[in-house]
Amino acid sequence: MDFDDSPAEAKFRKEVRAFLEANAIPKSQVQSRYTRAYPSDDMVQRACDWQKAKADNGFAAILWPRRWGGREGKPIEQVIYNQEESRYDVPRGVFEITLGMCMPTMLAYASEKDLLQHVPSALQGREIWCQLFSEPSAGSDLAGLRTRARREGDRWIINGQKIWTSRANIADFGLLLTRTDSTVPKHAGLTAFFLDMKSPGVEVRPIKQVSGDYNFNEVFFTEVSIPDSQRLGEVGKGWQVAMTTLSHERLTVGEIVGPNFADFFQLCTIPDNNGKRPVDDPAIREKLAELHVLTSGIRYTRYRVMTALSRGGNPGPEASIAKVVNACKLQEIAALALDLYGPAGMVMNPELTPMSGWFQQAYLYAPGKRIGGGTDEIMRNVIAERVLGLPADHRADKGVSFDKIPVAPPR
């Protein structure tokens, strides 16, 4: 057992470090670490510039084929890059969906002509994409979506609504999943497309969240026209396309932005008005020990996953562990942090609050972390069914044509 890189990994890490040192500022040299969950929209330009720098130096798409600007690297190299980059203050949260989910789907299904038009632009930070999957009545049950695509000659006409679409407000293009047939069971009636977000009939409305942030949008489609050439996969095979997209999500979720264990530990060393430090309180000490155990367990689980990747394996559903644990941990840390100083924990004024109200903010956005990217409940289903081999739940809509599936209690 050791924690060392293989010679090839060490060489790669050296290259990554040289690039980051020359092009980015370490977090330790930045004044405030207390950032919100996502960068604000005024950081979009910075994100585009950073994306271009990564592309110019060959780090934008480590796993992709060379002919599309990738380096045909191994998953372990992507992990090494992420590890090194996480120590730097670089803009995140703008291109992850574009490059992590939408482009891999395009590479699997789009025509050469479309790839030539979009892949280099996205890689270079000139094109932002969003993923138009979830709907008000189709979240965890994605295949229950209702946005209609109706064929008219060599075009498709879209009517319906999407929701929880990150970056739709700044996106140039979108990956869209629609229903093209309601008379067959739900998975069999779906078809996928991509579209220009500036098409007539597309309306984007930001959603205000509990935290006051606007990280998601609703997207409305009214008689939006898409050429058939922008269809991805066959008619009725949209579910397979969506699975391609979502299989790439595994590499990108699990890490949660926000105050972590070390930040909370530091908070516990700040005395209250009576000079008492929470870290000396036995009740807090027990909580800190428990959080340490959890944090350490996640760290070394990541090392085990890296070892498997280093030996050429692929990330499995085991990655669900980090998602389930980290979201709940963030919520617990935030609640404990607010409790440390009594009534003052309610105060959100940055100047009156330790660490500028960071934990108060986290308290408000943590609930969303347990939902986005697969709810706690869905992640537990994934572990139970794919890892432990337990049988799937009974489904009342199995084999039933979509238009016969109940959507409300019977009257």
């Binding site: 057992m1 050791d2 924690f3 060392d4 890189d5 990994e9 372990i76 972590n260 264990f261 070390a262 930040d263 530990f265 530091q266 870290v279 000490r285 027990e286 800190l288 020990a289 428990e290 340490h292 155990v293 959890l294 944090t295 350490s296 367990g297 996640i298 760290r299 070394y300 689980t301 090392y303 085990r304 890296m306 070892t307 280093s310 085991e318 562990i321 389930v324 644990v325 409940e377 992640m379 537990r380 289903n381 572990i383 139970a384 069914e385 890892v387 432990l388 081999g389 337990l390 049988p391 799937a392 739940d393 009974h394």
Partner: protein
Amino acid sequence: MNFEFSASAMEIGTEARKVLEGRKALAGARQVLNGAAAYDSELWSLVAGLGWQGAALPESDGGWGGNHEALCLIAQEIGRSGAALPFSSSVYCAIPAIQHYGNEAQKKKYLPDLASGKTIGTFCLSEGRGDPQHAQVEAIVVNGLLSGTKWPVPDGTIADLGIVVAKDKNHGGLGLYLVRLDGQSVARKRLDCIDPTREIAHVEFNETPAERLGDASSAAPAMNDLLDRVAVMLAFEQIGGAQACLDMAVEYARNRYAFGRPIGSLQAIKHKLADIYVAIELARSNAYFAAWALSNDAPELAIAAATARVSATDAFHLAAKENIQTHGGFGVTWDADCHLYLRRSEWLALVVGSRRSWKARIMSELTKHPEYVAD
């Protein structure tokens, strides 16, 4: 990144599993539960023949030149099997105590027989209620003779040799002493234990000959250091036990039908079992780090051992109780095997000190070494 056991260690683990399954170790434990024997002595001889007791000892001390990695995976299999063996007392406690704190003559004298399983050793620390880390030790050695009372002593009537913590009248302070437990001056009584397949005993010493471990002048060894080493091995046993519980629960949930469907298709069961899986994998990862620290004599041993211990204790506790819950009424019968693991989980959870005491050890390490506080 090479954060995985060596292929040879894993092979030994797989082999150990086959041996214990072939020998039906749990059935042997049930014999002990029903009072037929103090421990599974046939299995003890069998695994001694395979060299398990000496797995981590160099060949010069009677071992087979293995290493801690192999022993960790043997421990995991013993935990999984539920075997009724005094393995932890002899192999995780007595052997490393002599190996690390004994002088050359003592190693030569005691280790080969411990490694071959001919001698069974144990660790005598507690004197009644309280965590061993802060034990108020009253046992005292005067001119080489030990007097005092120890309880609970794991495997106290089974073991031949005790490593006893006692005050030293001549030197002051605490020391570790090698004491034969089978002599006339030792009164031993088996106590009723929450896990009858692992013994605890009440042991009284009355001017019993005691040999100081190490040289007469050597300083008292750090008790915590020895407990850390023990905790790493116990963590692997606990993880093995937890995995056995999860496997039992999954198997039952797949085959038990209610309301016309397997209960494992119900999310109330499914999510419970997913949570156990997560707890076990976190514990396994923490234990891996502890195994690394132990194998490399790393300064991180203290934090790694305490973290692994708390993590594994919690995982086994969760798995053992929820396995019963998954089995429903059948789970609380004497005939179902679930209770064997419930009992064992608590035995292992307490034998080197409470959960609280190990959490306190985590915090003292984190406070001493701010660099350990990381996400």
